[in-house]
């Protein structure tokens, strides 16, 4: 959305308020909407969010488009549906900690003891986005989604490498680790979960998907490229 010079979060907030921004923006969007409606077969660009609020959605969209930019290898993160994958993952059983032991007492522990936060993944994501945006506002006077690419890169690198410490005690690297894992899951999981749209993640690397009867192929494709149209669960359902 930022490609159009439009901030969707501001647009939606404005729309609720009925402000001038909304009017202008709606006019600006109209031709694209009309075009999209002419292609009913295509997946909707944004099917809507189940868990993320406006600020979180703007963060996740900006984050996945920065990590997975449009280039010769794949469409950008939001066009792959990685934002939708993340939203659904957080809204579902995993996000709600369905297999997480959640009894206290809670201790920081040693890194060898693994995840010890009293937060389910959805809570961790929510707190992490808020803390990252607070850091961005303090450092750059803008939320993450409003930053230019170089500063987004600085922030994500800082989270990953432990150079950014959040105020309030949330461990930034733990948040980043979960976020990064979900981006990779959204890129390469079966499209049934909302990401890897049109199997573009699989196509990018040449992974053939779910049909895998290779007994005859071991010799036939020994040290040879195996190129097929990948198949997903829904293709066979």
């Amino acid at each position: 959305m930022k490609d159009d010079g439009i901030n969707r979060r501001e647009f939606l907030k404005g729309a609720v308020a009925g402000g001038a921004v909304a009017t202008t923006t709606a006019v600006g969007l109209a031709p694209q909407v009309a075009e999209a409606q002419q292609k009913p077969a295509a997946a909707p660009a944004n099917p809507g969010y189940s868990y993320l609020n406006l600020e979180e959605a703007a963060f996740v969209e900006a984050m996945v488009d920065h990590m997975i930019p449009a280039d010769q290898y794949s469409p950008k993160g939001t066009d792959l549906g990685i934002n939708i994958f993340i939203d659904r993952a957080l809204a579902g059983g995993w996000g709600k900690g369905d297999r997480l032991y959640m009894q206290g007492p809670w201790k920081v522990g040693h890194p060898n003891q693994g995840y010890q936060l009293p937060l389910k993944p959805a809570d961790l994501y929510r707190a992490g986005i808020a803390a990252t945006n607070a850091y961005c506002k303090k450092t750059y006077s803008k939320s993450f989604d409003q930053l230019p690419a170089a500063q987004k890169q600085e922030v994500l690198t800082g989270l990953q490498g432990g150079k950014i410490n959040f105020e309030g005690g949330l461990p930034a690297r733990t948040f980043f680790g979960t976020m990064y894992q979900t981006v990779m899951e959204g890129m390469f999981s079966d499209p049934i979960y909302g990401g890897n749209r049109n199997k573009a993640g699989w196509r990018m690397i040449g992974f053939p998907g779910v049909v895998a009867v290779h007994a005859q192929n071991i010799e036939k494709f020994r040290d040879k490229k195996y190129v097929v149209e990948p198949l997903s669960i829904s293709d066979l359902s």
């Binding site: 920065h66 990590m67 997975i68 930019p69 280039d71 290898y73 995993w94 900690g97 369905d98 297999r99 997480l100 032991y101 959640m102 009894q103 007492p105 201790k107 522990g109 040693h110 890194p111 060898n112 003891q113 693994g114 995840y115 010890q116 890169q153 994500l156 990064y180 981006v183 990779m184 899951e185 390469f188 999981s189 079966d190 979960y193 699989w202 990018m204 690397i205 992974f207 053939p208 998907g209 779910v210 049909v211 895998a212 009867v213 290779h214 007994a215 192929n217 071991i218 010799e219 494709f221 040290d223 040879k224 490229k225 195996y226 198949l231 997903s232 669960i233 293709d235 066979l236 359902s237």
Partner: protein, 590 residues
């Protein structure tokens, strides 16, 4: 108040490989058997079919077939001075849940452990002297020999459809097999799987270095097969979705294919799923157990299942947990080194190098669970002199692919950016040009590596979690250093375009995944002072209690444990049917 049910001949706790083998064998012998399984009844037709089984997110990353740590887990720490904290989600190892247990999602690698393990203390002391073994290394002989187990290894291999190439048939070395294996009476049930390109390259490079590589023996049927009990297997399709998945072709040797249906056909067998056993009941005499108490997870009701014999056949860790929760035997104390229950917990170590070859096409998605080659030159090869290296044990080197799926396997050379166009460029280039060389190493028992009950954390039934205290010691670090050097030397000899070198592990961490090969805690041995069970896996105190699984291993080898787990289950079944039933009592005098 628990409802008391009708007594049966034997109650089985956990229906995976060991429970399935015991159920099949004991019902064949005419015994009335009830199996209690925590999880659900799952099977190929409804649960492991295409396309839904081919779901990496669900089965690999969301642990769909695994135990749910929200309900019961363990606490972990590296040493007794630390406070143990809960393993809040699975990571380092993945015990299974439901009918078939971990035998549904394993890869099928099936080794024969030899006298080098069973006589570990004797052999090292004789060759290197008593001082070679560090004082805190609590290794001991197992009280069983390879010769005793050999027919039972064969029985397990033929039941589970193990494909492989014999290396030593009745003492005659066979070309293409493992020359360091112990002599076997018969070849494997099936010929080896097809050799994938990465394994072939490893094989050729290893031979060039003077090593002795061979195809890994694996319970993936290389051809359609019918086992001695009449159970039918399909041929492996090299689908690339093996480890963590159930097999839609019934080509993987899994309990729900190989043994459980045999029991289920018998009128002597009853399976109750969603039955969570909370303790073993004891007779006040202290000589016999009387059955087990369990909760029906479908309604929360408690039951007592009286039985003439109790067989603990859950995952290794859970067997030890049940022993501690039931107050059977003296809990082990690492300070005084008194007691036995919880003693000698062991894990495995390992190293891994990633190799990248410009222009190669490895097709990592075309592989069986056992599409790997290995070598035992630094493992079961007793001519390999440990003296100069100063460690006890050994390690395998191996290569090939097993379940190399794209969420979890994103091979890029070190220094690649973690996201963005640069990352994609590197991944696109390398995804099909990548292979690895691994080493899996043994872990010798140490007095401080053990289990006990956690003083703080509880499971969903209000019972204490099991506490695991474990770390790698100097022995494993020395071994890892040598393994890393040898892996890297071999990798370099293959002239990869680039490679990410192997490094020795220093300390054990609960993430990421390493191996589901946890051993010890109720170890077997020659007398009750040093072990929980005798050579027939019979408890020394309660003669009608048998504890079956890798929990009886006094130390851990570099090999996957299921071969001896299966063989010991058949050995124990034989002892129960042909010795114990005729004359109930201690099978070995203490």
């Amino acid at each position: 108040m628990a409802t008391r049910l009708k007594e049966v001949d034997a109650v089985i706790v956990g229906l995976g490989w060991t429970g399935g083998i015991m159920a099949a064998e004991l019902t064949k012998a005419g015994m009335k058997v009830v199996a209690l399984e925590r999880g659900a009844d799952r099977g190929t037709t409804d649960d492991y079919t295409v396309p839904n089984i081919r779901d990496e997110l669900r089965y690999v990353h969301r642990h769909d077939l695994m135990q749910n740590t929200a309900r019961d887990t363990i606490t972990v720490r590296n040493n007794p001075s630390q406070e143990a904290l809960p393993m809040r989600r699975l990571g380092s190892f993945l015990p299974g849940d439901g009918v078939g247990g971990s035998g549904v999602h394993w890869s099928g690698v099936t080794w024969r452990w030899t006298d080098q393990e069973f006589n570990v203390r004797t052999m090292y002391e004789e060759r290197y002297g008593k001082k070679f073994i560090p004082e805190d290394m609590t290794i001991q002989d197992w009280g069983i020999s390879y010769a005793e187990l050999e027919p039972y290894y064969e029985k397990f291999e033929y039941t589970a459809a193990v494909s492989g190439k014999a290396g030593n048939l009745k003492g005659v070395i066979q070309p293409g097999g493992n020359p360091f294996e112990a002599p076997r009476a018969r070849d494997y049930a099936l010929p080896p799987l097809k050799t994938i390109h990465a394994s072939q390259m490893f094989n050729d490079a290893a031979i060039k270095q003077g090593y002795h590589p061979f195809p890994i023996p694996c319970a993936n049927a290389s051809q359609a097969y019918t086992n001695p009990d009449g159970q039918k297997f399909g041929a492996c399709q090299y689908c690339g979705f093996c480890q963590r998945f159930g097999c839609e072709a019934n080509a993987k040797g899994s309990p729900h294919v190989a043994v459980i249906p045999v029991a289920r056909r018998s009128p002597n067998f009853e399976l109750r799923t969603h039955a969570w056993v909370t303790r073993v009941m004891k007779d006040p005499s202290g000589k016999r157990v009387t059955g087990v108490q369990y909760t029906n997870l479908l309604n929360g009701e408690e039951y007592e299942q009286p039985a003439n014999m109790v067989l603990l056949t859950a995952y290794a860790i859970n067997n030890v947990h049940l022993m501690l929760l039931s107050g059977i035997g003296e809990p082990y104390d690492p300070v005084s080194q008194k007691g036995v229950i919880g003693k000698n917990y062991c894990y495995q170590t390992g190293v891994n190098a990633n190799l990248f070859f410009d222009g190669k096409n490895f097709n990592p998605f075309m592989a069986a669970g056992g599409s790997r080659f290995a070598m035992d030159d630094f493992n079961t090869n007793w001519d390999f002199d440990r003296g100069p290296h100063g460690f006890v044990g050994g390690f395998t080197l191996s290569a090939g692919f097993n379940t190399s799926l794209p969420i979890g396997n994103r091979p890029v050379p070190s220094g690649t950016p973690p996201w963005g166009t640069g990352w994609k460029a590197a991944l696109v280039k390398n995804y099909q040009q990548f292979m690895n060389i691994n080493s899996s190493g043994s872990v010798m028992a140490n007095r401080y590596n053990c289990f006990d009950l956690d003083p703080t954390y509880k499971n969903a039934f209000g019972q204490p979690l099991m506490r695991m205290t474990f770390d790698y010691k100097a022995n494993e670090q020395k071994m890892g250093t040598l393994a890393a050097k040898l892996v890297n030397d071999l990798a370099k000899s293959m002239n990869p375009t680039s490679f990410n070198p192997a490094r020795a592990r220093e300390s054990w961490t609960v993430v990421p995944y390493q191996s589901t090969h946890n051993t010890g805690g109720t170890i077997m041995g020659v007398n009750p002072k040093v072990s929980a069970v005798n050579k027939y896996l019979q408890n020394w105190d309660y003669h009608n209690l048998f504890v079956i699984g890798a929990n009886v291993f006094p130390h851990n080898n570099s090999y996957n444990p299921t071969g001896p787990v299966g063989a010991l289950a058949y050995w124990t079944a034989d002892a129960i049917i042909n010795k114990y039933q005729k004359n109930p009592g201690a099978l070995v005098s203490a």
